[in-house]
Amino acid sequence: MDGSPPPSEVRTTTCYMCACRCGIRVHLRDGQVRYIDGNPNHPLNRGVICAKGSSGIMKQYSPARLTRPLRRKEGAERGAAEFEPISWEEAYALLAGRLRKIRATDPKKFALFTGRDQMQALTGLFARQFGTPNYAAHGGFCSVNMAAGMIYTVGGSFWEFGGPDLERAKLFVMIGTAEDHHSNPLKIAISKFKRAGGRFVSVNPVRTGYSAIADEWIPIRPGTDGALLLAIIRELIEAGLYDRDFLARYTNAGHLIDLDPESERLGLPVLDPTHPEVNPEVNAMYPSNKVWWDRATQREVPSHARGADPEILGEFRRADGHPAKPAFQLIADGVRDCTPEWAESITGIPAAAIRRLAREMGETARDHAFELPIRWTDSWGVEHDRVIGRPVAFHAMRGIAAHSNGFHAVRALAILMTLLGTIDRPGGFLHKPPFPRAVPPSPKPPNHADAVQPDEPLANPVLGWPASPDDLFIDSHGGPARIDKAFSWEYPLAVHGLMHNVITNAWKGDPYPIDTLMIFMSNMAWNSTMNTAEVRRMLNDRDGKGAFRIPFIVVCDAFQSEMTAFADLVLPDTTYLERHDVMSMLDRPISEFDGPVDSVRVPVVPPTGECRPFQEVLLELAGRLELPGFMNADGSRRYRDYPDFIVHYETKPGSGVGFLSGWRGAHGTASMKGEPNPRQWEMYAANDCVHHHVLPEEHRYMRNANRGYIHWARAMRLRSYAEPALIQVYSEVMQEFRLAAQGRRPGRRPPPHLRARIERYFDPVPFWYPPLETEATDLERYPLAAVTQRPMAMYHSWDSQNAWLRQIHTHNYLFVNPRTARAAGVEDGGWMWIESPWGKVRCMARHSEAVEPGTVWTWNAIGKAPGAWRLDPEANEARRGFILNHLIAEELPQAHGPRVSNSDPVTGQAGWYDVRVRIYPASAGEAAETAPRFAPMPALPGTAPARASWIAYFAGKGTRP
């Protein structure tokens, strides 16, 4: 075998076959991609790469690539995918003309929603400068519960925000995770952990992927993790197996909570009016004059007073005779009845196993604790000569989050981790800068619909972190200001928006109609939408006068997705190998435990056809619309192009803080902060496209209250204030809303029909309730839970155009426990129906002993609409593949009142995994193909002219050597 021609060039950049964003090396031969491997110098993936990343070649040269701007043909129906190519100039003129009118009259009629991107700093800025409230990324239908539940409790979350320290953990508990964003790093870490002899427990109704290599699999009924976690918390409290010192000092466990039934602050921390406020401006947001009940003196003392140590359990009478309890006592009270037996009846996990698990966690944290000889100073000036480690680590994801009771379950998890004393401690959970942020973070959304004015930017960022009803984005009647009703009384803490309701709401004109809907990188006509068949109808629906209910739809995509069929204007994006991108500190960087990391993508191959990066499109539009911030005083454009924008943009003039933290300063010598460096891109490119600011040891732990770290973070503008991020085991924010619902709080009150809802779900102590959908379902008729899982070798919908990846997941089956299947008469490999109250799907069955008998599941987003992705309309994906989305309603009927989103009532997180179904065999005469099926989508102009009957890729020679 003789050697193959050597690659002519190797360039480093950042992968974007998924949101993990590993460092890659792209090897080129004669201008074509020869090989993509992991960059060994990259902190995230350290040289490894995944199945998707290794298939980048087939993405780059996919026949489904869009290569020209397209306009829907005059008279063609949306969904029919009949387009004509137009020039970019025509596209810009069309879009800018429309947007200019909207901005000058009613900016909220422009809605911008983005999917799988990681560039929300730019899209958010664009929306804010445009002045529309209707902007969000995909987090609402993704995992906002995991973000919000954790951030509202410990100031950080998983993924690029923080994670398990598996290098030092001894017990690792993974809950409801199939693959997650941190794909390669998590795999690297789990394997090392296992090799070092660590014990790995997985809680999941299904045993695949990570769970497959767990030492213990704990099958759980979907939607019940809250009950499990509360029972574990109860067991730990009963047994005294918690880290009292940690709770007392670094959490609000010791804050005395006012229990005076007459008080306006019932259920809120007692504030000491006599205690001088350090900084009144900050104090308004993060009051520091709270009080403890001192153990030694048995008196009320300012919290964190020198030498004091708070009681965290008990009930105390204050000087004025009113009762008060430390916050932790209220947690203990709240979980008193959450016995393992109670949890067993809900979760299906034997009570003994729950007890054993609780003990194992508590004892490992206690008996295997260790110390690192690291000096640090806490936020109250006390010096410590060591950092304590407690080797119990957790990772959890959408198994907990994607339920309408997920916020409280995630809070329960955060509290459990706190009880074990594992927050930002070695062996436990570690933050990744810029996290931890304040609890909650300081940015707030606009708090009144009047903030939206013609031709005006918004004064606040569109998205933020409400701390009380005063931060809600509502109108004077308490109605929503946003099309998705985020930050309204319906979903007060919808910090990521509710993208899953945008189309339905816009179609209904509820709360108001919009004009232009712009979707970037999301397949909203298929797998990211609930109730897919209906939503597709809505997208093409017209009012009585024959006008589209959603007048104009713009889709920016790189491939012929299902969504493109419904666009009026299609903008062809570049691929990740063709464009500049930033994984910015202002957005979602790729930080490590030991310090901030950001990275870039640089083009390694030229753009295909007429593709243009969406970033350039936004900048062009900003220029044409003359959006403030993008223009010079003389009216000329401030930024030449996207790379120029990235280099020169500063959060405030002269702030020295921009999108990228590396190689700042005129000579590129500054890190984190410094004046813009015109050669910043080159320097990134020359340094593996990544910048890692490694923190000194004393800044690597206990960062919720590590003074040195926090001051540094504020100086670097990672934090706005230098206040400690005190962990909120008891949620004051929740109580503020509850008080408003109870009418005990001055200021805003929820409208009457939402009062009971707010009062119930805004409980400062986490609790378990059945998912909303199960309450709206006849469980006798629909007894089974149906969930999906991410396949490791496929990214949502977008890899079916990838000739290599699609061979691994060409179509999908519904996995059913054989006992369940046999009871329903469903045969292994046979055709069957899966039906929910909202729809039904015909699919193929696969018996599996690796799923809990009350659950059925399938791989996510494998089924495709005929003809989409440039696949043959009869391709397996379209004929045998299916999506569960047809079974999942985006709205639920309520016993009283209008329909509500099928979402968590706190955060608006889409309740994907709440659906209940029944299954039965397809009858003998039925077609052996999936249902529903849709009319085939023709090839879009600009995609590959013909489908090759075979390919044999050889770099430098193309797909047919």
Binding site: H809, T810, H811, R846, E849
Partner: protein, 312 residues
Amino acid sequence: MRPAFSVVFLTTLIGAGQGLFLALYSAEVMGALGRIAPPGPRFLHAGSWFAALLAGLGLLASFFHLGRPERAWRSAARWRTSWLAREVIALPLFIAGVAAYGLAHRLPLGPPLAVGAFALAACLALFVCTGMIYACIRFLQEWASPLTLANFFLIGTASGFTVATALAAAFEPHVAGFFGRWAIVLTVVALASRAISLARNARLRPRSTPQSAIGVEGARVEQKSMGFLGGSFNTREFFHGVSRGGLSVVKWAFIVLGFLVPMALLAAGLAAGSVALLVAAPVVQYAGLVAERWFFLAQSNHPQNLYYQRTA
């Protein structure tokens, strides 16, 4: 396994060719020994050519089995280790040998029986090679048995004698009885041998199991996914894709058409002196033996299949 028709035709045709040669040669030997009235040289000459033709057609069929027939010349290289390479040598030698044997009845090449001895050796070697191609793969348990050699030999010989009977009935009637009686005897013996192998195979317990395939103990080891859904060489080459019922039909078809009907036709044809019946016998038998060979190939259960059970 999925039977390739190129292989089916290759093995059945050369088997018949070899058998026909054996018939001719044995008749000439018996004639020389004075046990029967010998067939005439014209018949032996033409018959040999017919045997060579059958074998040549088999050789031709084999080319259709190759992905790269233009390189077929390479295929004798590893005769030291490969039964296939040996077959590749033995088959042309046999064809040459039988042609020479035929010609020896026309041209002064030497005593035909002496010339034929060479063909006889090639013929027997070819039987061994062909059989061993299958029998030598130890984990194809249905094949890895001396019965495979016996069957290839007996079936090939029987079908050759049947062909010889038909040829004789048409052109050299006085030896038709000799050929026909032996054809019946050989067909009976072949059927017996084949039946034994069927019985053996029915009782085989696969030595490889899902447990040994992946090296995991446990009462229940079941594949859920072979790692791809659209099929691959491994799902195409090693699975016949025919139902159990279908297989059983083929089995009975070959028993009936390959053995029982030809025996009846031979017996009736000899008894009635009917050329038509005797000519029908090899035609029916060949169809049956095609089914037999298909079944032989299909029935072998490749251990690799343990890795290609299910998609998901």
